[in-house]
Amino acid sequence: MIWQLDLAILTLVVITGIGALMVKDLLGAAILFGAYSFMMCLLWSIMGAVDVAFTEASVGAGVSAVFFVAAVFRTTRRTKD
């Protein structure tokens, strides 16, 4: 495991996570959450947990982002915080 790579991806995880919570648009939050999941998947693959990374890439970055978009489509994009 290369610690420089690890640290860079961990920083990106924290940034996308905070971004998903700060952005004032729910569709943007859904997309940033997908990016967060994908960064998490990269982190797991450099830790050697290939099965977990594969699951997260298909489930977290793929399907759950689509679920968020579907829910936002059926409700509203408006948010106060």
Partner: protein, 277 residues
């Protein structure tokens, strides 16, 4: 509320930092988690199950009772979503209007309930809230779907030797159908795979898993002890374990695939199943 939340999360963080100070060093090969139980699984998996991917072996063989109920949890999540959202009756005030587009001129007409469309083949039904994508996106998604499904099947079947297995393959298969629904519209996939079939297949997936266990029970050994399946699968007991893992993974894959489609259909149409994302 923001201040209370901040105080609670900072307190939790402080407690976790205090606890983390006692942890073994990062990536220590002699940490308690890596020396107590896991060497047995790493060293004996090949002898006991003949499956090189240890994660698959532990998931579907050593801990299969756990995985069976995880599958049941996924099935019940699909069921809960169905019961929460699905509406079959409409309110009295709402009359259903459907939108049609004349394919030659591009004129959109709106048909109120009780009226019928002029008898012509040149009208296609469209969604009122959502315009489906153009021809290029539709065609390329349609061409991609079989390859994605083939990859999903490969991931399920090759889970013994490479990363993958029922969960991942099932999600990929479900995602291929969801992609078709996004690029066309929701009615296209409901025509191909109906709601009843989705529900039945979801239950069948759980049934395959628990049925394999019950079959072992009928043959006189413990629940999910795959060795006993050797006479049925016509192989020696060791290979029977490997084959039974494949059967179980197929059950998981079917259940996960249909649950994803079910959840998507209910969420994107808010339970009405007429139009959606």
């Amino acid at each position: 509320m923001k201040i209370i939340g901040l105080i609670i999360s900072v307190l939790t963080g402080a407690m976790l930092v205090y606890a983390a100070a006692d942890f073994p060093a990062w990536s220590d090969p002699s940490s308690p988690a890596s020396t107590y139980l896991s060497p047995h699984f790493i060293e004996k998996t090949m002898e006991e199950t003949s499956v090189p991917n240890i994660v698959t072996a532990v998931l579907a063989d050593y801990r299969s009772f756990d995985t069976m109920f995880e599958t049941a949890v996924i099935f019940s999540a699909g069921l809960v979503c169905f019961f929460l959202l699905r509406t079959t009756r409409r309110k009295e005030s709402e009359t259903e209007t459907t939108h049609y587009r004349h394919t030659l001129t591009g004129v959109t007409i709106q048909i109120k309930e009780g009226h019928t469309l002029p008898p012509s083949d040149e009208f296609e039904r469209i969604d009122s809230l959502w315009t489906p994508s153009g021809l290029i996106i539709k065609t390329s998604c349609r061409l991609l779907v079989p390859f994605i499904q083939l990859f999903g099947l490969y991931v399920i079947a090759h889970g013994h030797y490479s990363p993958g297995g029922g969960f991942q393959g099932g999600v990929i298969l479900g995602a291929s159908i969801i992609m078709l629904a996004i690029s066309y519209d929701l009615r296209t996939i409901i025509e191909r795979i109906s709601e009843k079939m989705v529900a039945v297949l979801c239950a069948v997936g759980v049934l395959i898993f628990s049925g394999t266990g019950a079959l072992c029970l009928l043959l006189g050994v413990n629940f999910l002890d795959y060795n006993a399946l050797a006479p049925i699968l016509l192989v020696d007991p060791l290979t029977a374990r490997s084959h039974a893992i494949l059967i179980v993974e197929i059950g998981v894959g079917v259940a996960v695939m249909t649950t994803m489609i079910w959840l998507y259909c209910n969420l994107s149409s808010a339970g009405k199943y007429n139009q959606g994302l």
